[in-house]
Symmetry: C2
Subunit: 359 residues, 2 copies
């Protein structure tokens, strides 16, 4: 830190993104990217007219992208806002819908950025522990005061809530906003987008980084009733109006337009997840029931940090979290291609044999 | 606004970007874009390898881009941070270097976003009026307490300060940060980047939207002593770590690498500016002495709003600001291609004839 930093900024506790090493070719199963390239139409869009107009500002309303998203979901374009990744939109939601006396409410084990944004905006969070089995019980949230942020499926557990449960939460207090972070919803969980027409206290946030194979394009969406989207635009125009560049707008619109490719990729990931889960369980692993493009798994034979470390030695990156204590035995493993997962399983079998010999 | 917006967000007063109309082909002289396409290497970079890896996150450190900028300026890469446009980095600077008891200090007439960010972060600004002739007098800032934000050249006046004056400000109080917003510096003003080695209380912010012909790519830079860049990274990693997408990193690096093209374009804009200024003065306009890629001009024959309106009717967009009162007679006119400026001059000649007949 410099001697000139403000006291407020000195107190920030930044997020640590997953490793992006450049020193070696790893099998990267640590940041939940897609093993598949973007839809073919994305490359075509990038070779198109937008490339010829880069000297002109991008459309601050991102109309081509919000229209494509609206078409996909049967919404109106003014029920959608696009962002520079869903992280930017979640941050805007913290700014728009939390404040003094109205902090964010979230689980103790969930997307690690929620607590960072709470600090970024000087908010008092309410943290509600997951149950013993890592499930999120809606009953624990019914009386919570503030703005609720739910990752569904949750990260890093992968466990999903049925929309009926979220509906129950929305009904419990119509004067309370529920933000559902659906970063991982497309791999087998139920989206809350269809509930938007019934609930003006629901905001759904999605990302193109997982199911749309565009992590490198930095595109996110938030969807909800018009007035909520107006509020987010109010924040966006107070922060960075031209927040999505021309090429990402074009790429995102093209990705949204190809439903068949999207379904093929997400279904393939779900199949690979089920296969990997079975194989790991056969090797004695505990694997939480995931609906995401990752699994959260542990073995009695090796600590979580040790598993991470030994896999990295073998050229495979997974993600380990040092805290909270009750997840330190686990590793979060992204679902890669079938070939990558076979390499993971082979490495794990070898590690288990090694550790048996050591014992 | 929704019924669920926070009190804090309801108080925001968002920035109004220049019009981006889609209903008609205008000669767009309202948002200070470049009339020239990006360097040829930019299109080549976009057709290159990054396009094939869009399913993977972009490098959160933007190493290729910060290295290219460091090479251009003779800095080290850790003296540079890249952003999603310079607006994002300026916003980060407000967060990193202002706080309670240490508000931002800026001119009454300057980039309109400074006051928006002050409100976004709940800061108390100190606003210092420009002198009668719209010049910024460093003497007025020597005793100011807070973090100083100077646009140099200033917007929308186009008037530049020599770096000697900024050096005087840096010397006056080494415990006070001066942020120099050099969005428009490349068209004939002096950059403060060479002062970075001497002053650890200097941060320089630049954009690719003007002199690098990449407004649609959304790329900005901040440069300063390592510890200041660390502080900005602290904010970035508390807000949106993957803030620049893969294609913009590649495009920005390629734009930085072609110094000859950059100099050709910026010099051409400066020549067109001088020509346009002479022509307008010959038509009786008052034109402030601009070093930017726009001019700020008024005529006695028509009010600023009326000039804006009548030019728009003729298919030419310029920018008019409703306040403060002492600039409402002016319009800000971006410097386009020579052909676009001839069209502007022809339209203005016709308007002046019309208004003479009316009188």
């Amino acid at each position: 830190m410099s001697r000139l930093i403000s006291q407020e900024a000195a107190r920030l506790a930044p997020y640590t993104p997953g490793e992006q090493p450049r020193d070696q070719q790893y099998i990267k199963l640590n940041t939940n990217e897609s093993p598949y390239p973007p839809a073919p139409g994305v490359l075509a869009a990038l070779a198109g007219a937008e490339r010829e107009r880069l000297e002109l500002y991008s459309d601050p309303t991102c109309a081509a992208l919000t229209q494509a998203a609206a078409d996909f979901y049967g919404l109106e374009p003014d029920q959608v806002i696009a962002g520079n990744g869903s992280d930017e939109l979640l941050s805007f939601a913290f700014r728009a819908f939390c404040g003094a006396g109205r902090g964010p409410v979230y689980a103790d084990i969930t997307y690690g950025f929620y607590k960072v944004w709470a600090q970024f905006y000087g908010l008092e969070p309410t943290v509600i522990p997951l149950r013993e089995d890592f499930s999120l019980a809606v009953d624990d949230y019914l009386d919570a005061r503030g703005t609720i942020f739910l990752a569904n499926p949750n990260a890093p557990t992968g466990i999903a809530l049925p929309t009926g449960e979220i509906r129950r939460l929305l009904e419990a207090d119509r004067a309370r906003l529920v933000v559902v972070d659906e970063a991982y919803v497309d791999f087998g969980a139920e989206s809350c987008v269809p509930l938007i027409r019934d609930y003006d206290n629901l905001l759904v946030v999605q990302t193109f980084s997982k199911s749309r194979s565009l992590a490198g394009g930095r595109i996110g969406l938030a969807m909800g009733e018009r007035a909520l989207i107006d509020d987010l635009n109010r924040v966006k125009y107070s922060f960075n109006p031209y927040n999505v560049n021309r090429l990402s707008i074009a790429a995102g619109a093209a990705a949204m337009a190809d439903r068949a490719y999207f379904e093929r990729c997400t279904q393939a990931v779900a199949r690979t997840r089920e296969y990997t889960t079975e194989q790991l369980r056969a090797l004695g692993f505990t694997v939480l029931p995931s609906k995401a493009n990752f699994i959260f798994a542990k073995t009695e034979c090796l600590g979580g940090k040790e598993l991470y470390r030994r896999l990295k030695e073998r050229g495979i990156l997974v993600r380990h979290f040092d805290q909270p204590a009750r997840i330190t035995d686990y590793c979060r493993i992204s679902i890669g291609s079938p070939k990558q997962m076979e390499a993971l399983l082979a490495a794990i079998r070898a590690l288990l044999e090694e550790s048996e010999k050591e014992a």
